[in-house]
């Protein structure tokens, strides 16, 4: 090796040492190991607000690093069932709709929640806890209407079938369960029986309703005035109002169907301790109030005092709360397939 070739053994070993040193510098929390957990959740606003209200203020100081596994509800449920037989799953905690979490419980995929491990558990509202899930946020299904084009203000789901409003009612394709619930409540059905709602919905076809593929498409249509009325969660109505969509919300007199976002722990979660820490963090009053203010969903704990102005927009009055209806998730899980088929083949035809 002549002297102009500077790549000697000494240089090689020096380079290696520097490389290893740089690699160790990159690791988080030199000194304290960061605990890592995986949360399955919807993306978009929900994921962003979880990071903003729960993870960054409460969990990161405790040294817990949360990774989001982002996908839709049905996809994550499919993954949970597919992973069922593995000794260690890929997620520690999952956020599912209440209907989805019930389906997963029936499939035997979920861990029974040990509420003694959650310090904030005593503050949970009674309807928001089940043996297998912890309710994070809730809202209710209301009628959203544009006061400029729909007058007088609707009071009942029957107003969607008022011939006076023909051509102004919008229906969202993915919210077929919500529409069936609304139709069932005004045609002799109830939370255990949506069948009378089918005939009622077929009547809506004569009234020139407009169908939209997603919630966002409906918001657009309400904003441009293409439609004037729809059925939607109050929380999303609040978000739409914030975005300039001219709608008001009214709780129908037949009842307000509850929507709850549940958190569940898979039986084969690798890091259950971190999952419980997350559950405790998300029930903290600060985190709950943060969600109420930014996303319009109501807290599931009794000790989160939401500012009055916000509470008036997102909450329900005492007499509205008296007619909150809890869906029968077993009924929905068993009938979802046939209801969707009816919706696709007969209602949308």
């Amino acid at each position: 090796m002549n002297s102009s070739n500077r790549f000697t053994r000494r240089r090689f070993v020096k380079g290696l040492a520097i490389g290893v040193g740089l690699a160790t510098l990159g690791r988080p929390g030199r000194g304290t190991a960061a605990e890592k957990m995986v949360l399955g959740t919807w993306g978009g606003d929900y994921s962003k607000l979880l990071t903003q209200n729960v993870e960054t203020p409460i969990l990161t100081p405790k040294g817990i690093e949360v990774v989001h596994d982002i996908a839709g509800d049905p996809q994550r449920r499919a993954k949970l069932v597919a992973e069922q037989r593995l000794p260690r799953g890929t997620t520690d905690l999952q956020a599912l709709s209440a209907a989805g979490s019930r389906e997963m419980f029936n499939a035997g995929v979920l861990e029974t929640i040990d509420y003694s491990k959650i310090a904030n558990a005593p503050n949970l509202l009674a309807q928001m806890k089940t043996p297998y899930s912890v309710g994070h946020i809730y809202s209710g299904q209301v009628i959203l209407y544009n006061p400029a084009t729909i007058s007088p203000a609707p009071t009942s789901y029957n107003d969607l079938w008022d011939p006076k409003h023909a051509g102004k009612v919008g229906v969202i394709d993915i919210q077929y369960v919500g529409m069936l619930e609304a139709a069932a409540l005004v045609s002799g059905g109830n939370m255990e029986n949506f069948e009378p709602g089918k005939a009622k919905l077929m009547e809506l076809r004569k009234l020139n309703f407009k169908m939209f593929p997603t919630n966002e498409a409906m918001a657009q249509a309400l904003k441009t005035g293409e439609v004037g009325m729809c059925v939607m969660w109050k929380a999303r109505g609040v978000m739409w109002q914030n975005a300039g969509v001219p709608v008001q919300a009214v709780a129908p007199k037949e009842g307000v169907v509850l929507y709850v976002s549940d958190f569940v722990i898979p039986k084969n979660a690798p890091n259950k301790a971190a999952a419980y820490a997350y559950l405790d963090a998300m029930l903290a009053p600060s985190a709950q109030i943060g969600f109420a203010e930014t996303m319009g969903y109501n807290p599931t704990v009794s000790n989160a005092k939401v500012p009055d102005a916000v509470a008036k927009r997102i909450g329900f009055t005492k007499e509205e709360q008296a007619r909150l209806l809890s869906p029968n998730y077993d009924y929905i899980a068993k009938n979802d397939s046939q209801l969707k088929e009816w919706w696709d083949k007969i209602f949308k035809a």
Partner: protein
């Protein structure tokens, strides 16, 4: 040595395509139980469900019809453009070819969004027609079969043009001149000289466009709306929306079988007719 070179590609196809297809076919024979996704079984009920339900057959027929119409439109619009591009000696030839290919750089969903702006009830087309005075109230263009056909044709046209252009370039212009000098008028030159010689390219282009049309997903969803069903979105709905993997798998194989068999049949028929 040549065999070894093919090895990695073959392995990729086997692992990435054939093995998953075999697994999917096995799934299509399982039974769907709500809440438990899939129960091991050996049943053809998913295929029976498809073929005995007029709704699903209508979806397949609609998909075939839309793909066929798009294929014909692409051929009718693409051939003149391809011929002109192939024969031109202008220095802008490369630029024009680039312009034909440019739309492919933009994803299907983005292009469908563009069509939505065009076709909306307050969109560009309706506003223009209203301003000119041709209509009093907006036409319903969105969420129709016509909108889907326009969208799919727009996406597939570059493929047809490129395929045909390369084939026409391979036809010696001297042959056309010879035909003309023997007394053939331009339509005759086209029908008896150019078309038979370009047939391999026409076949390749139409099969390609047909396959793309059969498997279209973003365009039918965005431009057809929730009440317009084609096979691609139907398969997705079964897998991602209903978690009905057995039926979704059966739908996938029906779609694949329809596409493959029609492509193979047309290949045989045309080759037999135009074999030199």
């Amino acid at each position: 040595m040549a065999g070894a070179l093919v090895g990695p590609a073959t392995l990729a196809v086997v692992l990435g395509l054939l093995v998953p297809l075999a697994i999917l076919f096995r799934y299509s024979l399982n039974r769907f139980v709500p809440g438990r996704l899939m129960v091991d079984a050996l049943t053809v009920e998913n295929y029976v469900k498809f073929f005995t339900d007029p709704y699903y057959m209508a979806v397949l027929v609609r998909t075939l019809r839309v793909s066929a119409v798009c294929m014909v439109l692409c051929l009718v619009m693409g051939f003149p453009l391809a011929y002109a591009l192939a024969r031109t000696r202008s220095r802008w030839k490369s630029a024009v070819v680039m312009l034909v290919v440019l739309p492919l750089f933009v994803g299907n969903a983005v292009r469908a969004a563009g069509w939505m702006v065009m076709f909306g009830s307050r969109g560009l087309l309706n506003t223009l027609l209203g301003v000119v005075g041709l209509i009093d109230h907006p036409l319903q263009l969105m969420y129709t079969e016509a909108a889907v056909i326009v969208g799919i044709t727009a996406v597939n046209l570059p493929f047809m043009v490129l395929t045909l252009e390369s084939v026409v370039e391979g036809i010696d212009p001297a042959i056309e001149e010879a035909a003309a000098s023997l007394g053939a008028r331009p339509p005759q030159v086209f029908r008896r000289v150019i078309l038979p010689l370009a047939m391999p390219g026409v076949l390749a282009g139409t099969i390609l466009v047909f396959i793309l049309g059969m498997n279209a997903y973003a365009t039918p969803i965005l431009l057809g709306g929730p009440r317009f069903q084609m096979m691609g979105p139907l398969v997705y709905g079964q897998f991602a929306g209903l978690n009905n993997w057995p039926f979704g798998a059966a739908l996938s194989f029906v779609l694949m079988a329809a596409t493959l068999s029609l492509s193979a049949v047309s290949n045989l028929l045309i080759q037999r007719r135009y074999r030199r």
